[in-house]
């Protein structure tokens, strides 16, 4: 419990900053909605001139774009990108910060098992993400109500927003496994930015070919907003894929971390 609280405290600042950033991004986009909705015709024409790949990349879904839910899919892809970076940062720093700041000796000579340490740290990161998502969702739904022109399904809005959290969990798990395997990570940001962006662009790339299987490559493509809006639910196979990745990465992290030699600085 003490490690958990310590971790949570350590993440306090970053949780606040990330929450505010996500809220600002969504606020910026939502503020555009009313003018876009008004000028729907003109926008449609412009967008139709764009190549399909770009339209897909920005989450443009024909016919849906000018409803609030359809429009929301558009900023959501940026939000998930940023949120992915936040989660990856957390995951990667969980173990590596102890190595980098050379505090591993302190923690690991205390009467706790390594599994207890990793569990507490994982919970700390998890709670930090939950808090971020609660703040984000509260702000996003408040804003949606402010700018809406028609009624919309709150359930679908929630399902769409929840994809942010799912993608974060996947990147959190990926971050952890990287941080226990790589002996020393000098800069968390370099690792997390490159990984998250790589997956983001892989996602865009896989989109252009339109093959279903390729969507498994990038977590960013696990949650198809058009599908969610249409069916008010997730695609089970991708949900499962995400869960499997998270489970395996975390299990592997526990095994690796428990057997790892902690070298002197």
């Amino acid at each position: 419990m003490n490690i958990f609280l310590h971790e949570l405290k350590a993440y306090r600042k970053s949780t606040i900053i990330w929450s505010i950033s996500l809220v600002l991004i969504i606020a910026l986009f939502m503020s555009l909605y009313s003018s876009i909705a008004k000028d729907a015709e003109g926008f449609l024409k412009i967008l139709e001139n764009y190549p399909a790949a770009i339209r897909n990349a920005i989450g443009f879904i024909q016919g849906n774009f000018f409803t609030i839910l359809g429009f929301y899919s558009f900023p959501l892809s940026f939000i998930t990108l940023c949120a992915g970076i936040q989660a990856m940062n957390l995951g990667t720093s969980i173990v590596s910060k102890e190595v980098r700041e050379k505090t591993a000796d302190f923690l690991l000579t205390k009467p706790v098992t390594r599994s207890q340490i990793l569990t507490a740290k994982l919970m700390g990161a998890f709670v930090s993400l939950v808090i971020t998502n609660i703040i984000y969702f509260a702000a996003a739904s408040f804003l949606a109500f402010q700018v809406k022109t028609d009624d919309f399904s709150m359930k679908i809005f929630f399902l769409l927003s929840l994809t942010v959290f799912f993608i974060q969990l996947i990147f959190l798990a990926l971050g952890i496994i990287i941080s226990v395997i790589v002996p020393k990570i000098k800069s968390v940001l370099t690792v997390s930015l490159s990984t998250v962006f790589a997956f983001y662009f892989l996602g865009i790339f896989s989109d252009t070919t339109g093959e279903e299987v390729k969507r498994y490559i990038s977590p960013f493509k696990y949650f198809d907003t058009a599908y969610i809006i249409k069916h008010a639910g997730y695609e089970a196979s991708f949900l499962l894929a995400g869960a499997v990745i998270i489970f395996l990465a975390i299990m592997a992290s526990f095994v690796v971390y428990s057997k790892k030699d902690i070298h002197a600085v």
Partner: protein, 294 residues
């Protein structure tokens, strides 16, 4: 009873040297020195005891329990001070010590205050703002605040000024009197000589010898230097036990190991002007072990 038992402990890092077949015991209530130059394997041994690293083969037990299997349980009674201390920079000393104490199921606040007072440590400063020596003090308080039964020190004096070193040693002796066993690793022999009852000498990953400090010195030679009124016969001191005999005018010097009476009688038979008999210090014994093996 042995507090630490190390049996054929081996740790290899690929091709690099680790430790090979280390075996020694530390008895309850003793201050045990662990000496050797940098890179001899002292830290590797200690880190294995603390299950920070895992042995390639062999085993070690602390309080009669395997140090890997029962690591969390054992660590409740261990205080550890590394050679270089690093803590969460943005924490206050007070908060760090509280965090450290929160791992042990007892109230340590009184002991923290006592120790901070002895070591002259300001609890309200940020770790980040502390000098190396002051960080070390935090380490000392942190290692002792839960009144451990076994104190493991890995080259603990670096960064401490002589006055603080003195206080620190007194503190250790006090803990020892209260029943704590201490494993003291160092490459500074005078420290070990000052504190320890027994010592293990490690060289290139292997234990060279485990001895009582007093035996180490007893078994060793004494340095004789004799000034005589008239030059001596070159071969006067040529007897068993005498080594490195050198006669330089009226000064005769040699190393002697053996029955001290025999040599004293020999000296009594001649007219001397002055006499020096010196105990070799640990440094020389240490070098002796190292040269012998080389």
């Amino acid at each position: 009873m042995n507090v630490i038992e190390i049996n054929n402990l081996t740790k290899t890092y690929g091709k690099a040297r680790g430790i090979t077949n280390i075996s020694f015991n530390v008895e309850e209530g003793e201050i045990f020195g662990f000496i050797g130059p940098n890179g001899a394997g002292k830290s590797t041994t200690i880190r294995t005891l603390l299950s920070l690293i895992y042995p390639t083969s062999g085993s070690a037990s602390i309080f009669g329990k395997d140090c890997i299997q029962f690591a969390p349980e054992i660590k409740r009674e261990i205080g550890y001070l590394p050679s270089e201390v690093f803590y969460y920079d943005n924490m206050k000393v007070k908060d760090l010590l509280k965090y450290s104490a929160s791992f042990y199921k007892k109230d340590c606040s009184k002991r923290i205050k006592e120790l901070a007072e002895i070591m002259d440590l300001d609890l309200n400063k940020k770790i980040d703002d502390l000098s190396l020596g002051n960080k070390k003090k935090v380490g000392i308080v942190q290692g002792l605040l839960h009144e451990p039964k076994l104190i493991i020190l890995d080259e603990p004096t670096s960064g401490l000024d002589p006055l603080m070193q003195q206080k620190f040693f007194e503190l250790l002796e006090e803990e020892n009197k209260k029943g704590a066993t201490i494993l003291f690793s160092s490459h500074i022999l005078s420290e070990v000589q000052r504190l320890c009852n027994r010592v293990a000498i490690i060289k290139e990953g292997k234990i060279v010898t485990v001895e009582k400090i007093s035996t180490l010195k007893e078994n060793n030679y004494k340095k004789f230097k004799i000034e005589t009124k008239s030059p001596l016969n070159q071969n006067y001191f040529q007897m068993s036990g005498v080594n490195n005999l050198a006669v330089d005018g009226s000064i005769t010097s040699f190393l002697f190991r053996g029955d001290i009476n025999a040599i004293m009688k020999k000296i009594a038979d001649i007219e001397i002007a002055n006499l020096w008999i010196e105990e070799p210090d640990l440094e020389e014994i240490f070098l002796h072990y190292y040269e012998k093996e080389a």
